[in-house]
């Protein structure tokens, strides 16, 4: 048994990042043009075609209400990708701003914001999300709110740590001495310098936010019928899984592929940043 390991970093991080950026790009494009691609109306109920097997007209068959599963999966991509990316973007912005303010001003601002984050993190994330979404009732906005309530804390902590570290750097002093205002320093000097590690985290978060929202929808306290969403599609079709397994497997495979691509993308971003930091 050879116990000493080769410490050289993984090669080809950039190539893989490009590959997964392209794949994620394809998914985003697909979701944008979904209405054009859908062979049937995803919302049209047809009592004549309930739980029909896949055919030329319905590539993935139909569900319990006779709707085209393939069209709904395509439209669902829109819902899933849009909600996850939007959620990450919103929590990223809010979290970064709060974290920067916390690190820059310190004192009471810092204490208030960071203690609040600590307390939110004392709850298991899904428990809080389920309680919030459950109390507010379903809907895309409420589901995003439920996930976002704890989501911002990661960025706030990171941004704060970055600001604290950067504050000691000479270039910040230089900016201050040359008469820049706090806000100007924060946005022109600090922000560009701290984006790297924060983007790594944001890219890793997309996949897990997607899973979280799909989970809430699956439980019936997220995005609800008739809107096409993979989690709720799986939930509503699972009672008929013996009759129409395609109605479950279609959105299931779509979820796995999409989450995998976004997770891989996050990993690649991290690898590339690691390699660059190493150099």
């Amino acid at each position: 048994m050879d116990i000493l390991v080769d410490k050289s970093p993984r090669k080809g991080a950039k190539t893989r990042l490009t590959l997964f950026l392209i794949l994620a790009g394809i998914l985003v494009v697909l979701s944008v043009i979904a209405p054009k691609l859908a062979p049937n109306d995803p919302y049209e109920i047809s009592s004549a075609n309930i739980n029909a097997a896949p055919s030329a007209q319905y590539p993935m068959g139909t569900d319990r209400l006779g709707r085209c599963v393939f069209s709904r999966v395509l439209m669902g991509a829109r819902t899933s990708i849009f909600s996850a990316v939007a959620l990450v973007a919103i929590t990223f912005v809010i979290g970064s701003l709060l974290g920067m303010a916390s690190g820059w001003y310190g004192g009471i601002v810092d204490t208030l914001i960071m203690r609040f984050a600590d307390i939110l993190l004392a709850f298991p994330q899904m428990v809080l999300a389920i309680a919030v979404a459950g109390i507010l009732g379903g809907g895309m906005f409420n589901a995003m709110l439920a996930m976002g309530i704890t989501g911002w804390t990661i960025y706030a902590r990171l941004a704060r740590a970055q600001v604290l570290a950067l504050k000691r750097e000479a270039f910040v002093d230089a900016a201050r001495l040359s008469g820049c205002s706090s806000l100007a320093i924060m946005f022109r000097t600090l922000l560009p310098n701290m984006l790297g590690p924060m983007i790594v985290n944001a890219s890793i978060q997309i996949g897990s936010m997607m899973v979280g929202i799909a989970g809430l929808s699956f439980l019936g306290i997220g995005i609800n019928e008739p809107q096409a969403e993979w989690g709720s599609m799986i939930n509503n079709s699972r009672a008929y899984i013996q009759l129409a397994p395609w109605a479950v497997l279609g959105p299931a495979i779509a979820t796995i592929i999409t989450v995998m691509i976004f997770n891989y993308l996050g990993d690649c971003v991290r690898d590339v940043m690691d390699v660059e930091a190493g150099e």
Binding site: D2, L4, V5, D6
Partner: protein, 318 residues
């Protein structure tokens, strides 16, 4: 006639087929301290690792290493590793780091002895006591039961030597043993290494970039440049009457306390390892001439066990 414990002949070794050292030939006498000096990247650490043979990826591509009567390069990897770790011990540059910082020395000593099939529960305390005594360490019980993170760097290094004494190893390999220590402790460390040799008769190969340390400790010395031995011989002879232009530049580059600025060496050493043809020092050499880039490398005896690779130095081609 002195007895050689280790004989290295024409050794070439490197990573992934790219040699880092080439045509290295020297011998180590029993009880001798042999110093290897050179700038960082010259291949001196690679040489040490090649001798020990535990570094993954480092391959010996030609040449021979004889340890007493055994030809190491002929042995299968596992057997060679077993023999080498049995006979040779290593002191690292970063002294605390060769032991697990959060397990007691005692546990780690026992593991080492057990691995060599040499652990005797009853004899162990006595062995430790004896080894620590030779190194001038008191308070054996407290030290052996503490963890490496609790100890200073110098102490860790002495404890690393203690395990060598208990194993009764013949050769101590040291990679920059003093450079991670405070200036005040460096001297003490050097004295201890010499003391250890005197009391135990262990042979040592010490790699360093510190010429003063080499002069203090070394019986013999080898100067390495870009994976080739440039000059080899008796330590005081080589350092007081250097013949290779590189050795001369190295000595002139030592800062002194009399306010004179040292003459630095122009340029920087090549990091590409030994060349197929031509002297690698040529671009920085003050006496180089057109022929230097065409010469085959060879080490020339200029008498009294003093060897030099430069053909233009002392008694060579004029």
């Amino acid at each position: 006639m002195r007895e050689n414990i280790l004989t290295v002949t024409g050794l070439q070794a490197g990573y992934g087929g790219k040699p880092m050292i080439d045509d290295v030939t020297f011998s180590l006498g029993r009880g001798e301290i042999f110093c290897i000096v050179g700038e960082s990247g010259c291949g001196k650490s690679t040489l040490l690792k090649a001798l020990l043979g535990t570094t993954p990826g480092l391959r010996i591509t030609s040449g021979s290493i004889r340890l007493e009567d055994t030809e190491l390069t002929q042995l299968p990897d596992a057997e060679r590793r077993e023999l080498c770790t049995e006979k040779m011990g290593m002191v690292f540059q970063n002294p605390g780091s060769s032991f697990n910082p959060i397990r007691s020395y005692k546990k780690q000593f026992i593991e080492t002895l057990k691995s060599h099939g040499r652990y005797d529960k009853d004899a162990f305390p006595q062995q430790v006591e004896e080894a620590f005594g030779k190194l001038g360490l008191n308070d054996v019980k407290r030290i052996i039961n503490s963890c490496p993170y609790e100890m200073s760097g110098g102490m860790n290094q002495r404890i690393a030597m203690a395990i060598m004494l208990i194993l009764g190893q013949d050769i101590l390999l040291a990679d920059e043993p003093t450079s991670a220590l405070d200036a005040t402790i460096q001297k003490q460390m050097a004295e201890e290494l010499r003391h250890l040799r005197d009391v135990s008769g262990i042979s040592m190969i010490i790699v360093t970039h510190n010429l003063a340390l080499a002069e203090y400790l070394g019986d013999r010395i080898a100067v390495i440049y870009s994976g080739h031995i440039a000059e080899l011989g008796d330590a005081s002879e080589v350092l007081s009457r250097p013949v290779h232009p590189y050795t001369k530049s190295l000595i002139e580059a030592i800062p002194t306390l009399d306010g004179r600025m040292p003459t630095g060496l122009p340029g920087s050493p090549p990091m590409t390892g030994p060349e197929e043809k031509g002297c690698e020092f040529c671009p920085r050499c003050p006496v180089a001439c057109g022929g230097c880039s065409e010469l085959e490398y060879s080490l020339r005896d200029i008498g009294d066990g003093h060897f030099v690779s430069c053909p233009y130095a002392k008694g060579g081609i004029r």
